[in-house]
């Protein structure tokens, strides 16, 4: 095992923390962005037999480059399966997906997420992307890992629009609604890690990120947040985990400012592939993956 490092960014810490939620041998439903980085860290370190599904119809890809979107050709690269969305979405509705990463703009204490509108649905202050696959995964995946920025205003008493079900109104509510999946297992934010009480279904703080003040967390949550009596600090990323992410995504397209760097700069974009090819080959060789 490599050593812990303090040379990491907050998005990297979140991705690594999410990676640790994934177990070896599991089947996970993964979107691009931070979940993809988490999945890659897991696959390249503690969970080599874990496989990911990508929404537009791929499973088990082993690419040598960074995917750009859920329908990206990269997701097809050396995959076990490629084809229709029905396969992967049908499988998850039928209970074959162990874990899924989802997100949202607002969350409440039961882990219900909003990714549709801020404000009134019919006259929104901010119109967002809509459910996408988030509602489907929140409904039917074995468990979900929720990742979101904690900006001081988005841990709310009531979400403006309930897009993706957490524990709904509390104990028994998912079952009563007819939902197949077991609901959220963890919430990973820019401040800490939260889980859910088995009896009340309410979110509680389990871990606090290094350098974050508990008082600031409490201020960033609208309800009276429960705290684990065993509250600990979030485990640091290892040097290897950071190396994996920076090898796959050297410009930090997903976890940093890469997108600003690349906008309009085709040569930089082509160079990103050129420069990451050999390090990726080397990394995958070292893991026995090619």
């Amino acid at each position: 095992m490599s050593n812990y490092t303090r040379d990491y960014s907050m998005p990297e810490l979140m991705a690594v923390t999410a990676a640790r939620e994934i177990k070896d041998g599991e089947l996970a439903f993964i979107g691009v962005g931070m979940p993809l980085m988490a999945a890659t860290v897991a696959k390249f370190s503690h969970a080599p037999n874990f496989n990911m599904m990508v929404e537009y119809g791929a499973m088990g890809p082993a690419p040598l480059r960074l995917p750009m979107c859920v329908d990206c050709a990269v997701n097809n690269e050396r995959a076990y399966f490629a084809g229709s969305q029905r396969e992967v979405m049908g499988a998850q509705q039928a209970g074959f997906v162990d874990v899924a990463c989802i997100s949202g703009a607002q969350i409440d204490k039961y882990g219900n997420l909003n990714s549709t509108v801020i404000g009134d649905y019919h006259a929104p202050k901010v119109r967002l992307a809509g459910s996408g696959g988030a509602n489907d995964l929140a409904s039917s995946a074995g468990r979900t890992i929720i990742m979101l920025r904690q900006d001081g205003r988005n841990f709310v008493n009531k979400v403006d629009y309930l897009t993706s079900p957490g524990y709904l109104s509390g104990p028994g509510a998912r079952q009563k609604a007819g939902l197949v999946g077991n609901g959220p297992a963890a919430v990973i934010t820019t401040m800490g890690v939260y889980r859910f009480d088995a009896e009340t279904c309410e979110m509680y703080l389990e871990k606090i990120h290094p350098g974050i003040d508990l008082k600031d967390i409490k201020k960033a949550v609208q309800w009276d947040l429960a705290i684990s009596p065993h509250l600990t600090e979030t485990e640091l990323p290892t040097e290897e985990q950071i190396m994996i992410m920076r090898t796959l995504d050297p410009l930090a397209v997903y976890l940093g400012t890469g997108r600003q760097t690349l906008a309009g700069d085709f040569e930089a974009f082509m160079a990103m592939f050129e420069n990451s090819y050999h390090p990726m080959v080397k990394l995958m060789r070292s893991k026995g993956m090619i």
């Binding site: 041998g25 599991e26 089947l27 037999n49 496989n51 791929a58 499973m59 088990g60 082993a62 097809n76 050396r78 995959a79 076990y80 399966f81 490629a82 084809g83 029905r86 396969e87 049908g90 499988a91 509705q93 039928a94 209970g95 074959f96 997906v97 162990d98 039917s140 074995g142 468990r143 197949v180 077991n182 609901g183 297992a185 889980r195 859910f196 009480d197 088995a198 009896e199 009340t200 509680y204 429960a226 705290i227 684990s228 009596p229």
Partner: protein
């Protein structure tokens, strides 16, 4: 304030682990008495069915669910294993009338057989539902006919959008599916070439899935053309290597239907004594699929393969 961490429940996905075993091992491990067994017609899982017949004293009774079946279901019926069949079609195809099926339904020989009828697509939609975790599927088949009148599991309702009749069929989740396919890797990614009927949805519906294949290939080969994967590994429990594993029936791109053999078999199935003698010779008298193939003759099987390859082989995608 109290807290109690949530226990994490396990999903249904099978692991990407080594899954190759013999037919004997797979049937022993997954097929038990009173098993609800799913099977489809493309391709015929003969190597697995023959092994079930060999283990009939242990297995005793199964309930079958099929869409269409030719021959395989009747091997089990004639061997006295089947208590009930849920079906769209069970007959001999080009081999003709299925006297084994008739004897069981009409005369209870070798044991009474309960039948639950659907149309083929109605039966198929039960697996379509299960494959997506749904309790039922609507169909526009079966309406107006007497199929729903004799099968209360089919519910005719007016659809809540246009107020027009639809016939609902309930999802079918077999305990075990037995399937024959073209090829698979050792962790259970399966490819079916040619026409494969309902094999895809059946595999997605069953709690346990046994797939016999013509060829075992590397995972690297699966990864070369992932569009051809019809049954991803997470549905599959066991891979059985059974070359010519659908004989007397065909395997697309591998070998042709052995009509001479099938017609001869059906001629013998016309009487219970003929059927018993046939399975005694070909199934109970052989210890495994390789012995059956030797009895049929690998020279004959090889000629059936050449006959198919003369007309079609899979190859380069240009």
């Amino acid at each position: 304030m109290q807290y109690q961490p949530m226990p994490i429940k396990k999903g249904r996905a099978k692991p990407p682990a080594y899954k190759i075993m013999t037919a004997k091992e797979a049937i022993e491990k997954y097929i038990h008495e009173n098993c609800y067994l799913g099977m489809t017609v493309s391709a015929a899982p003969a190597a697995l069915i023959w092994e079930m017949v060999r283990q009939r004293d242990r297995i005793k009774t199964v309930d079958l669910v099929i869409t269409s079946q030719i021959g395989m279901s009747s091997a089990l019926i004639g061997a006295g294993l089947v208590r009930k069949i849920e079906m769209g079609y069970n007959w001999g195809g080009i081999e003709g009338e299925d006297k084994v099926f008739r004897r069981a339904v009409e005369k209870g020989i070798p044991r009474p057989l309960e039948v639950e009828d659907y149309s083929n697509f109605g039966a198929a939609m039960r697996w379509a539902a299960a494959s997506m975790g749904l309790p039922f599927m609507p169909t526009k088949s079966q309406l107006g006919s007497e199929i729903p009148e004799y099968n209360p599991k089919i519910k005719v309702i007016n659809d809540p959008y246009n107020n027009e009749p639809v016939a609902l069929v309930p999802a079918s989740y077999p305990d075990v599916a037995v399937i024959h396919a073209s090829r698979a890797d050792e962790i259970g990614n399966v490819q079916c070439f040619g026409l494969y009927g309902n094999t895809d949805t059946l595999a997605r519906s069953a709690k346990h899935v046994i797939v016999s294949v013509e060829e075992i290939i590397t995972s690297a080969e699966i990864r070369r053309m992932p569009n051809l994967t019809t049954i991803p590994y997470y549905y599959v429990d066991a891979i059985v290597h059974a070359p010519f594993g659908a004989h007397w029936r065909e395997s697309n791109y591998y070998y042709h239907h052995d009509l001479a053999f099938g017609l001869d078999g059906y001629r013998q199935f016309a009487t219970k004594e003929g059927f018993d003698a046939w399975i005694e010779k070909y199934i109970l008298g052989t210890k495994d699929w390789d012995e059956y193939c030797k009895l049929v003759g690998y020279d004959r099987l090889y000629r059936l393969m050449q006959s198919e390859h003369k007309y079609q082989q899979f190859g380069e995608v240009r």
